[in-house]
């Protein structure tokens, strides 16, 4: 009787394949047909501009540049007469971009977005470094729903709070900007203390034996740079907070 069972199984197999034969193929004929990407899919990063004025939504706050884990975003800005930030350059290096979407999440002004576009391969690496013009051009036809503006409301009421808000942002400043500043600020401090150290032994000489005390001072001098670094941060913080306002 086993043979009838086997034949039944063989016929069942044939039935399944012939059933699939009549079904339509699910392949997408890629260059001709393209998949409708969901709105929140993470494609290429673009800059959004105001639909009415045609100007960029970007306020050059550099939040996205700070949020970027690979440092793919480079922003240059300066302040005009009214102390308002003006965007000088906004460059995204797509060779570095890891499509995490943190820049979009960090932006409070609907300025940067991961578009649904995904076709941007080029023949050279240089072509993947996009400037403002290209980014804006790519973002022109990208539909977006403005984020609910909850954050600006509490802003005008307590001014110190905004500073408090700004502080963590300042702490989280990207490595690209900060180390350079810290070094630039830290080095003069060290130099000052170095210049101070020759004076210190002279003062110490008057009080007691020079050798052990110089070592102490040297230790202090060694410890100082670390202190100076830690000191620079709080100094730095309020400055940045002011800038953000």
């Amino acid at each position: 009787m086993g043979i009838f069972k086997d034949i039944k199984n063989l016929l069942a197999g044939l039935g399944i394949t012939s059933k699939h034969l009549t079904r339509h193929a699910i392949t997408l004929q890629y260059p001709e047909e393209k998949m409708e990407m969901p709105e929140r899919s993470r494609g290429i990063v673009v800059l959004l501009s105001d639909k009415e004025t045609g100007k960029l939504n970007c306020t050059a706050c550099e939040l996205c540049a700070r949020a970027c884990p690979t440092g793919a975003i480079m922003i240059k800005q300066h302040r005009d007469e009214n102390k308002k930030k003006v965007l000088d350059a906004f460059v995204i290096d797509n060779t570095l971009c890891c499509f995490c979407g943190l820049c979009e999440e960090s932006c409070n002004f609907d300025a940067i977005k991961m578009a649904t576009k995904y076709e941007f391969s080029t023949t050279t690496k240089e072509d993947l470094i996009w400037d403002v013009k290209k980014l804006q051009e790519m973002g022109l036809d990208v539909p977006y729903t403005p984020k609910p503006k909850k954050k600006p409301k509490p802003k005008p009421k307590p001014k110190p709070k905004t500073e408090g808000d700004a502080k963590p942002a300042a702490d989280a400043k990207p490595k690209a900007d900060k180390p350079a500043e810290v070094k630039a600020e830290a080095k003069p401090v060290e130099k000052k203390e170095e210049t101070a150290t020759p004076e210190a032994p002279k003062q110490a000489e008057g009080e007691a034996d020079s050798k052990p005390k110089t070592t102490e001072v040297e230790e202090e001098a060694k410890a100082d740079p670390a202190q100076s670094e830690t000191k620079t941060e709080p100094e730095d913080g309020p400055k940045k907070g002011e800038e953000n306002e």
Partner: protein, 352 residues
Amino acid sequence: MIIAAGELYPIFEWAKELLTGLGLPEVWQHLIIYGALAAILFGTLSVFALFLVWWERKIAAHIQQRFGPMRVGWHGWYQTIMDAVKLLQKEDIRVAIRDKAVFFWAPVLCFVAAFLAYVVMPFGEGLIVADLNIGILYIMAVTTFTVIALLMAGWGSHNKYALLGGMRSAAQVVSYEVPMAVSLLAIVVFTGSLSMQDIVNSQSGYIWNWFIFKVPFGPIAFITYTIAAVAEANRVPFDIPEAESELVAGYNVEYSGMKFAMFFLAEFINLFTVSAIATTVFFGGWNGPLLPSWVWFLLKTFGIVLLMMLFRWTYPRLRVDQLMKFAWKFLVPVTFANLILAGIIKYYGWYW
């Protein structure tokens, strides 16, 4: 007489008259007519083989919910033509240590053997090159040439995979030749003739005159024949001579360019051959209403080809020992029992 009667008869009569009008001796007339027939057969069957390659790819793709070839023409219809053109242009790579004569003649023999069966194939009413009175025996004898060709390819290649593929192929085809011949013999016992024309003519009339419906042993003979035929054509699930996962490509590993194409086309012509035999013997050949006889023949044959393609994309490959066991322990007894049954039924006249 070459063409007994049928649709193309007037054309050949006209050709013969033309040739006699030219004052050629009869030997030349025959040579020219047979040459023309050979050219027509070769052309048609090459086109069929190319079409079958494309069709197989399409069916495989659609079973797996893909499209298959889509780029070259409408649904890639001339993909295989371009493939053949590409293979013609390719360099003929030859192994340095090879058996030169054997390596060269293996694809040629394979290709020629694939075409030989069509000498006695009734494509339509009267569309038969030569109605030999040993028709089916001739086909059985001639299609076995393929084994020699595959064995030659395996031997001449100086390659362990190729040799193994050739040996497996020889073992398999020789084993499955027996059930195939015996299941056809059951029908031959019934018709009392080996001639292909006689077999088709004895099924004329209505659909229940086809041998698969006419006699109780017809379906069994058809099933055993189909299984054996799939094995003869070296196709999945009996494709151990060229089992890709075991033998790289089997007997044709070392072949490239047009030599490979000859093996490849011969394989698909063999597929068409076994389907055509099944059509002729079990499904009434070119018998059918309304449509011209050759259309009926092609429809039925391509239907059986479709069935074999479905087999290929449904069933997994058998192991070598399972294959042999299945042939000798199951198919041979069943077909012989069927033959005895056919004899009994014929003797007592238990049929309509």
